[in-house]
């Protein structure tokens, strides 16, 4: 287990940098993690995807499948990659505070 630190705020993360305490998540956590996934600032588009994934996770306990993310947010997969260069699984799920997805997204 390692620690991810932004401006004095510390987060317990796994070896791939995923938040280990999902309950601690707030919008501010997503902002803190954005830099680690090569995102300069979070736009409305980012938030739409992050909140969709977050709510799906809270409701079902897992990450949504990629095509569901596209369908529900209205973004094409290529647009998701423009928002989150490291992809929906590694980038978007990490910012949404999900534990590491296992092959779903």
């Amino acid at each position: 287990m390692s620690t991810f630190e932004v401006e004095g705020r510390k987060y317990e993360v796994d070896e791939d940098g995923f938040l280990q305490e999902p309950d601690r998540w707030t919008d501010d956590v997503a902002k803190d993690f954005a830099q680690s996934e090569s995102i300069d600032s979070l736009t409305d588009g980012h938030w739409k995807v992050i909140h969709y994934i977050r709510n799906y996770y809270l409701q079902f306990g897992i990450a949504p499948m990629v095509r569901k993310v596209c369908k529900e947010t209205g973004y094409k997969l290529s647009e998701i990659y423009q928002l989150f260069p490291s992809g929906p699984a590694k980038g978007a799920c990490k910012l949404a505070g999900l534990p590491k997805p296992t092959g779903c997204v």
Binding site: E15, D16, F18, S38, M65, V66, R67, C70, L77, S78, Y81, P85, S86, G87, P88, A89, K90, K100, P101, T102, G103, C104
Partner: protein, 405 residues
Amino acid sequence: MADAPDGKKRANGLPDTKLLDDLEKGPWPSFVTEIKSAAKNSESARDLLGQLELSYEDRKSHWKHGGLVGVLGYGGGVIGRYSDVGEQFPNVAHFHTMRVNHPAAWFYTSDALRTICDVWERRGSGLTNMHGSTGDIILLGTTTDQLEPTFQELTHEGFDLGGSGSAVRTPSSCVGMARCEWACYDSMKLCYDLTMHYQDELHRPSFPYKFKFKFSACPNDCVASIARADMSVIGTWKDEIQIDEREVANYAAAGLDIAKDVCSHCPGKCMDWDGKKLSIENHDCVRCMHCMNVMPKALRPGKERGAVILLGAKAPILQGALLSSVLIPFVAADELFETIKELVSRIWDFWDEYGTNRERIGELIQRVGMPAFLDAIGLDPVPEMVSAPRDNPYIYYQTEKEGEQ
């Protein structure tokens, strides 16, 4: 560097590998020998030996489950690998795998191979697997911070990452027309063209599960596409096997027992040798290739060439193994690219909509039934789609009735 698992000091700088040494015995090549040879220059190869020996002692893998790492813009191509005994073996604590798309039919210049090896000795463990089962060049063992620089160097040299996860996996093909007289279509070109066409689907996983393409240019199926690819494209011909009678006579004169070694092995029982003339009932030919493999100079595929498209093979993971079965019995060689693009888009639409998580296309067809699947992709059923014709024990196939039809 840690001590060998049992605490013994290493001889010759290598860990003590009593159990692994057993794998070097016998006449076969041994991956243990190869890793030992790499370990002379590579710290991580040394720790890999140590961890593997420990795995054999403990009878369990010391790689943790999962790992999610990658390069920017791609959702696949890198497989995260972490050790659960990283403190004991620090040089394999992070040991990610990179998949690199191989050239069609694995033709390289030695320069290209040296380039890859040089990059990997600088950026990773230096260990490679040439090649993985899907066909990719597998670069074994590096750390997260080396992924982007390795990717940059590889793309600069003209290589790209391969597929991983729920995506199009790196397509592969047999040597086809580059070396083989039996090629019924240009498998290398089709493999390359479709790889380029499906770059998005290859690098950005979005399917229920993996999807593999393999292209064999004749029914010998040298890339074993029928057993391994969700979509297998296998070369075949529509007309009659070409016979060179003079060469048949030469084989007979040279001592080949054509009746015993060729005709009697024909699964379609379509060949007859009367001691002078070889005759073939072409409509009974099941394209097994045995006769051509035995008499390559005398027999060759017909002139009207193309491929059969099959669907659904997979290895056993969630359910048992499946072989691909026929979807389209014959597509002319020059129409393959367009036909496959159209067909695949319909198949993926259906799979995307109805496939459950980690369900291969073959399993989906089994679940919903072939009629529903054909209806969804807009194909009419044809007799060739029966996976094992004439093998159903409940329907007696009567040869004498054949003439009446």
